[in-house]
C-alpha cells in the first residue's frame, strides 16, 4: 500500500513584517522594522554583528514573539507554520547519533512513516554530498560537514521557506563553497531561501536582494545590484567601504 501523501504545506509568501519592535532588559534590539518579501529570490539579511539579524530570523520563525508590530506569512502567524518554515541555526546542534539518524529524526517530525525514512534520508544526504558519511557519528563531522548536515536536515523536512542564520560563520573557503553550492541547489528547487550574514563577499555571491540592518533597524531593502552599486544609507556605505558601522 503506498504511503499516504502528506498534506500540502500552505503557501507562505508574501511575508509581511510591519513595525516590528523587540526589547529586552531595557534595551531596544529591533525598532520599527518594516518590509515585504515576495517569492522567487534569495534574500540576504546583511549587516555587522549585533545588528539584529539573528533576532529578526528568530522572530520570523516564531521562536520569539515581537513586542510590537506584526509578522505574517501570507496571513499566517509564524509559530503555526513549522515544518513548512525551516531554520538552520548559526550553531546547529547535532543529535548524538549517526548522520543518517539525524536526518531520519527530522523526517519523523514531519510524520513520514518509519519505513520510508531511510531512503528519504539517504536521498537528502546524497544531494548534500554527505551520503558517504551516513553511518558516521554526526558529532565527528568537520565544521563544514556539520553545517551542510544541518542544512540537509532542515531541508529534508521540505520547508517552503528555509531561513539560515550565518550559515558559513567560521568556515574555511573550501567549506564555505560547499555550503553555498548547497544553498543554490536548494533555492533552485521549490524552497525559498532567506539567510543572514555579515560576510560582504557571501552577500555578493548569493543575494538577489539585500536587507541591510544596523543597530536594530532595517536601513535598506533593495535589489542586490542596486544595493552594491548605489547604497542609499550612510551605514550601508560605511559597511561596503569597510568602515566600522557605529
Amino acid at each position: 500500500m503506498p504511503d499516504p501523501a502528506p498534506p500540502s504545506p500552505p503557501q507562505l509568501l508574501p511575508l509581511r513584517v510591519e513595525a516590528v519592535g523587540f526589547a529586552r532588559n531595557g534595551r531596544t534590539l529591533l525598532k520599527a522594522v518594516d518590509f515585504r518579501l515576495e517569492a522567487g529570490r534569495i534574500s540576504v539579511l546583511l549587516g555587522p554583528n549585533g545588528a539584529g539579524k539573528s533576532l529578526l530570523l528568530r522572530l520570523l520563525t516564531g521562536l520569539l514573539h515581537p513586542d510590537s508590530g506584526r509578522i505574517e506569512w501570507n496571513g499566517h502567524a509564524p509559530e503555526k507554520l513549522r515544518p513548512a518554515l525551516g531554520m538552520v541555526l548559526q550553531k546547529p546542534v547535532m543529535l548524538r547519533r549517526s548522520v543518517r539518524a539525524n536526518v531520519e529524526f527530522a523526517l519523523a517530525r514531519t510524520g513520514l512513516p518509519a519505513r520510508a525514512r531511510r531512503s528519504s534520508a539517504e536521498a537528502a544526504l546524497d544531494q548534500g554530498g554527505l551520503l558517504a558519511l551516513a553511518d558516521q557519528p554526526a558529532m565527528q563531522l568537520s565544521g563544514g560537514e556539520t553545517q551542510r548536515l544541518a542544512i540537509v536536515r532542515a531541508w529534508a523536512q521540505q520547508p517552503r521557506v528555509l531561513l539560515l542564520d550565518e550559515p558559513c560563520a567560521n568556515l574555511d573557503p573550501h567549506s564555505t563553497a560547499g555550503v553555498e553550492a548547497l544553498i543554490r541547489h536548494i533555492h533552485a528547487g521549490k524552497t525559498r531561501v532567506i539567510l543572514s550574514t555579515h560576510d560582504l563577499g557571501q552577500a555578493r555571491r548569493l543575494a538577489d536582494e539585500v536587507l541591510f540592518m544596523a543597530d536594530g533597524r532595517l536601513r535598506e531593502h533593495a535589489a542586490a545590484d542596486i544595493f552594491f552599486d548605489r547604497p542609499a544609507s550612510k551605514q550601508a556605505r560605511d559597511f561596503l567601504d569597510g568602515r566600522l558601522v557605529l
Binding site: L63, R96, F105, P137
Partner: protein, 234 residues
C-alpha cells in the same frame, strides 16, 4: 583493634570459600537493589526529564521538592512503607510485609527522588543547548523528553549508579520492612548490622569489605561501558 587486622583475611576467606549462605545474602542484596534501581529509573528518569522540559505553574516547587527528597531519612521511608503494608494498613491485604518485594518498594521510594533530581539537572543543562534546535525541527515536548534522555544517557548512568549505590548501602528502611529474616529477607547491610550487634566485628567488617568490592565492581563495569560508548559515538 584485632578486628581491623582480621577483617581483610576474613573477607578474603569469605570470597574464596563462597559459602552458600553468603552467596544467598549477596544474591538477595543485588536482586533487591537492582530491582529497586530499575523501577526507580523507570519512574525517575522520565519524571526528572519532564520537569526539566515542560513549562507549567509550580515547576520550580516540584524541582525544589525533588532536591529536598534526595535526603529522605531511610527509617522514615521504612516506617511509611511498614504502615502501608502492615495488616491494618491500606495495602495490608497484599501480604508483602517482611518480603523482598517490600524491601524493593522501600528502596525504590528512597532512590526515585535522587534519580529524578539528578536527571532534572542533567536534562535542564542539555535542554538549554538543544531546545531551540528541537523547536525548529518541529519537535513536540514528549519527543523532546525522549530525545534529551537518549542523548544524555551517558551522564544519566551516573544518576542511576548513585541510586543503586544508595539502595545497596541502605539498612534502615529494609530492616523495618524486611525484618532481616534468615534465608528470606537477610541482605548484606542487615547482616552487617546483626553481626555488629552480636559483637562479631571482624565478620561485620569483612562483609562490609565484600559489599564495597561489589559496589566498586559495578561502578567500574559501568565506567567501562561509558568509555566504550564515548569512543563509539563522539
Amino acid at each position: 583493634m584485632d578486628e581491623f587486622r582480621q577483617a581483610p583475611a576474613i573477607a578474603l576467606e569469605l570470597l574464596i570459600t563462597l559459602e552458600p549462605e553468603l552467596l544467598a545474602i549477596i544474591g538477595l542484596s543485588l536482586t533487591v537493589s537492582l530491582a529497586a534501581t530499575l523501577l526507580a529509573a523507570l519512574i525517575g528518569l522520565p519524571l526528572g526529564a519532564a520537569v526539566a522540559v515542560y513549562r507549567f505553574p509550580g515547576r520550580s516547587v516540584i524541582a525544589a521538592l525533588l532536591n529536598a527528597m534526595m535526603g529522605l531519612p531511610p527509617v522514615v521511608v521504612g516506617l511509611g512503607v511498614y504502615l502501608m503494608l502492615s495488616r491494618a494498613g491500606p495495602l495490608g491485604e497484599l501480604g508483602l510485609l517482611f518480603t523482598p518485594e517490600a524491601m524493593v518498594i522501600a528502596q525504590c521510594l528512597l532512590i526515585t527522588p535522587l534519580i529524578a533530581a539528578l536527571t532534572r539537572q542533567t536534562i535542564a543543562d542539555l535542554d538549554r543547548s538543544y531546545r531551540e534546535q528541537l523547536q525548529v525541527l518541529n519537535t513536540s515536548q514528549p519527543v523532546m523528553v525522549t530525545t534529551l534522555l537518549r542523548d544524555a544517557w551517558l551522564s544519566l548512568t551516573t544518576a542511576v549508579l548513585a541510586g543503586f549505590g544508595r539502595a545497596v548501602a541502605e539498612v534502615g528502611a529494609v530492616i523495618i520492612v524486611g525484618g532481616n529474616i534468615k534465608g528470606v529477607t537477610r541482605v548484606m547491610t542487615t547482616t552487617i548490622a546483626l553481626e555488629t550487634s552480636k559483637g562479631n566485628l571482624a565478620l561485620a567488617m569483612a562483609l562490609g569489605l565484600v559489599l564495597l568490592a561489589i559496589a566498586i565492581s559495578i561502578n567500574l563495569l559501568a565506567g567501562m561501558l561509558q568509555q566504550a560508548a564515548i569512543r563509539r559515538h563522539a
